[in-house]
Symmetry: C2
């Protein structure tokens, strides 16, 4: 059946292939897509749209392998809900139901599992979604790292906007819901590999209340959204620039970054724009709608730090730039390699 040559040349799978950056893209486009290409999957977005009897559904799935299983501000059980719920939300869909599957390692204390099931259930309640089903498999001791969770989500597409990179126009504003990098750096610190302490918590939460407020405030002036998880803001905006064939111009100083995240990034030589968030999202809105959108975000509890961080330009197409505090511009590339494996 297959005649197309697979374009993936790496001979084996490495951690970087799961990091959400350049290597992940190569794996998905070079190995998965030649076999699986179809009209639903083609856009490679956070969720696929599927029409069933005239109802437009959003479908998405993620697996979670975060280490450690619990960390300040969250846990794998909460990520398994919020990660999937947020992929639906930024696709403009109200999250309805989740399906969760567990792979458990033989020997896992039942109490460790119970903590995560309870966390997952509480997060689902908070997010207003029902866990409709799931499955549990057990593998031998040493063939898993405690537990992995996979979570699929079904959402009902909201009719107030039709989101697409193709709807983005030069002059549109780029909004960010809050400070970046809290999740990634929290995981790094929780592993104890770093001789550095900070009062930092994962930002994991459902972003649907914020998205809902933006949809009410902007309607069709809301053009595009994405949650900057693996690969961070830099990777998400590079995908936008590429798909929209436009330029993204950020203002470095406008991007909200907490002091502990900035400090850890300076210490490690990382750019906060590459560090994962689990409870933030990026939105592109028409320039006229930006003030109203920001006011709507600020009015939702937890949205006080939302900010306009830049704008869309026509040139240089397919490029993300940031204006530094010294007035110069730097090119923001996608994540290369995997400085922080297994953060979600």
């Amino acid at each position: 059946m297959m005649t197309r040559t697979v374009g993936f040349r790496d001979t084996q799978i490495e951690l970087a292939h799961g990091a959400g950056g350049k290597a992940s893209r190569r794996l998905i486009e070079g190995l998965f897509m030649p076999y699986l290409q179809n009209e639903l999957l083609a856009p490679l977005a956070d969720a696929a749209y599927c029409d069933v009897n005239g109802t437009r559904l959003a479908l998405t799935a993620d697996s979670f392998v975060v280490k450690p299983l619990s960390f300040p501000g969250g846990s794998i059980g909460e990520l398994a809900v919020n990660g999937t719920v947020n992929d639906l939300a930024v696709s403009g869909a109200k999250p309805l139901a989740l399906l969760t599957t567990f792979v458990l390692e033989a020997g896992l204390p039942s109490s460790v599992l119970e903590v995560q099931v309870a966390a997952l259930a509480a997060a689902a309640r908070d997010a207003g979604v029902l866990v409709a089903g799931g499955d549990t498999k057990v593998v031998e001791h040493g063939k898993c790292d405690g537990m992995y969770i996979s979570s699929a989500g079904i959402g009902l597409v909201d009719g107030r906007s039709r989101l697409s990179p193709g709807a983005v126009r030069p002059g549109d504003k780029i909004l960010l819901s809050g400070p970046i990098g809290d999740h990634g750096i929290t995981i790094l610190l929780a592993r104890g590999d770093l001789d550095f302490e900070a009062d930092l918590r994962s930002d994991t939460r459902s972003v649907w209340p914020f998205v809902n407020a933006m949809l009410a405030a902007c309607g069709p002036d809301l053009r595009w959204m994405r949650d900057p998880t693996r690969g961070g803001v830099a990777t998400a905006l590079n995908e936008l620039a590429r798909d929209a064939k436009l330029a993204v111009m950020l203002v470095d100083e406008a991007v909200p970054v907490s002091d502990p995240v900035r400090g850890a990034c300076e210490l490690l030589g990382l750019d906060p724009l590459h560090i994962a968030c689990e409870g933030q999202f990026l939105a592109v809105v028409a320039a006229d709608a930006a003030d109203g959108a920001l006011a709507a975000l600020h009015a939702v509890p937890g949205g006080g730090e939302a900010a306009c961080i830049g704008e869309i330009r026509a040139e240089p197409a397919r490029t993300v730039l940031a204006r530094t505090r010294y007035g110069s511009s730097r090119v923001i590339d996608v994540l290369v390699g995997d400085p922080l494996p297994r953060i979600c």
Copy 2:
């Protein structure tokens, strides 16, 4: 929020908790359900039903950890499609779309992954479903066994019948689509642990064409279906007997079992009724409709060995019995322990 005491007393997770038998039931009902109970999840069936804008959807998810990754007649990629498709089919839903997530072990040869992606794509084509999305995560070498796949499925509930254990009546006939145990014994032999060779292949396939033919032939006279995977026919029918509060009376000699499966089971002291199938299903139909249903199954390619294997009785309620070839009856219990871990 939680006041209910969790009823799960095992202090750690063991392989048997993933085997689909008594221990699995204890884990699901004792640990997961106290936290996750809701109206969609309550029936604990193969799929949950969810009404969205007047359209009745079936939702299901499974994870796959089979070892080895490829075996005669199938592979983890094919199981990830057919296992999920079949949970939808036996729930009376036409499979529409799948979401698949991969957890990959660093160091996995890309060619091994490619074989499974190709197998998954081919199985999806054969089953008439679209892969709408997915996700890939990579964990360190030694933290996974090559790859695990999780697969969620969305189906459109067929209006020709409303399946439920509550619809089953004494006198109804029990049909089986073909010989049992081929998948489980194939996996066992493929591991090479057994000094035994046989010409046996996994039966993995989509059962939707058979279900569709039964729905056309029987309409509302089709009362209940289940695919006997982990835990086998014995576990599936015990769940029916318990949920319908009725008795199941099988005829041992009527159950189709191939010679290699019977031979391996005798050698190992296993009952074929406990061995998993991946391409068969059980159906309960009204007595008057049984001949028509069997004729419909026989008319679908691959359905030639479908058989009536017993009937529903009022007493002894909540019990599965089998009439032996010697005229006596034996009690058929659910699977206890896990004689064959990681078969799917």
